[in-house]
Point group: C2
Chain length 284, copies 2
């Protein structure tokens, strides 16, 4: 595995692969790698010959300075994990390399995809930050395929949309959420869950399971599904920031469960804000 | 010369060239080709092996519906001129191909580069429209070099900025303004100048020449240079929409002529809005 820190080095390193027609995969991350990231890397290694992992804690997508400051960073540990999972190029640019002096361009995915859920709660800047940095990373690397996790379902939709809208010549592949044994979705923020908060964090998965069970049990009213999900969080003393039953492509709220349905939840557990979701196939 | 109308066709056509390492040039136009465009094509043909001309009247960069409706369109004539000037691929997509249903992504170059001159007079949407469509065209074609005219000096700065900021792997080359024998800058809108308006249109070039002459004559006060330029327009009964003496890289107004200086002018002549500019080298 090679580690590079500038766009110029990265392009020079990838040029022979590109010329030779070798397929390039990109796994964009903010580091603090966990099994979710490693599953993306393994998928990339299975599908492409050159696997680039980008490691960049993007300041523009954090709406809280404390969250940015607390975001875990350990490049040496990440590099070892990444190499073991099949990464061939680690791209770890500085903030100045990504946002040089005078930087002033913003990519905005407008409309309902970004105005709801995470966009409504973290502010419009969050997805502008995500859209801009992902556009940049895709242009820096020029991958054939880029891999994202279903855990950030809304982010994946936003990225698919901008890639289509800006004609970026990369395919976006969204991979299943990886969970701990007890069902907690893997997240870099999980290391910040201590003591009983680690147990309380199971409230999110409990809500999603309750929604799945309600639909499996024949419930077709979206409000009732939502109520069942919400009730499942009560024993954990966790209140959702949002708990939404929506169309998985448009994020428009469902009234009836009459097609594939995304149930998405966000909640603060102690100091840590967590999100999770489940995709319930159409019961028809 | 091949004509293609979809991104998929375009990419399939260019793939063998790209794989073979042949250099690809792009000249983005809104059609109604004139000698200015043809000079860009000839430059592209001299520098690259595959010359793509895009022909797309981009609705999102027009701030006036009447200007969009009146914009001259003649694809057959354009195709003949383009082929003769060295174009090898004519890319003429439909509006729906460029902006399919659900399109909702906007590229914004923020700050002083877009807040002044054309941006101040045509509204923020103008350069958002330009930045978005140019990002798309660069991603559709994937050129090694893209060629733009110095006549649209501010547009060229905005495009250089977004290409750098979004890490688009293309070089931007800005080529000199081509003029009629009497000095009028070539523009697709010139065909709409009739009768005495064609003569009155020389007011813009007269203003720029007066500015050049003032600096050549030793004037170093920017306000005095501007006044001299403005006075030169009076005999034509043409008022400038703006007439600005600015830093050519930042567009910040100059107070003294103590470096390279851009003098830029916009004026409405009859029904037609015209722009022009001159780059005056530092007198030091």
């Amino acid at each position: 595995m090679r580690t590079v820190r500038t766009v110029a080095e990265l392009r020079a390193l990838l040029l022979p692969d590109r010329r030779a027609g070798r397929r390039i995969g990109l796994v964009p991350t903010m580091g603090a790698l966990h099994d979710g990231h490693l599953s993306l890397l393994r998928r990339a290694a299975a599908e492409t010959e050159v696997v680039v992992l980008s490691l960049f804690v993007n300041p523009t997508q954090f709406d809280e300075a404390s969250d940015l400051a607390a975001y875990p960073r350990d490049e040496a540990a990440d590099a070892a994990l990444a190499e073991h999972a099949g990464c061939t190029v680690l791209f770890a640019p500085s903030v100045h390399e990504v946002y040089p002096d005078g930087f002033c361009t913003i990519v905005t995915v407008d409309g309902p995809l970004t105005g709801t859920l995470e966009g409504a709660h973290r502010g419009a800047e969050h997805f502008q930050g995500v859209a801009t940095v992902v556009t940049k990373l895709l242009n820096m690397v020029g991958p054939d395929v880029a891999f994202f996790g279903q855990k950030d379902a809304q982010q994946a939709l936003v990225i698919r949309r901008l890639v289509r809208d800006l004609d970026i010549p990369a395919r976006i592949e969204v991979c299943p959420t990886v969970r701990e044994a007890d069902g907690l979705a893997r997240s870099s923020r999980n290391v910040r869950l201590h003591g009983e908060d680690r147990d309380r964090a199971l409230a999110l998965r409990a809500a999603l399971r309750a929604a799945e069970d309600a639909v499996a049990g024949g419930e077709r009213d979206a409000a009732a599904v939502r109520d069942a999900a919400r009730a499942a969080m009560t024993p954990f003393s966790v209140d959702p920031e949002y708990l939404a039953v929506v169309d998985p492509d448009t994020l428009v709220p469902r009234t009836a469960i009459d097609g594939d349905t995304l149930v998405a939840v966000a909640a603060r557990v102690g100091e840590v804000r967590l999100i999770d979701n489940t995709l319930i196939p159409s019961p028809r």
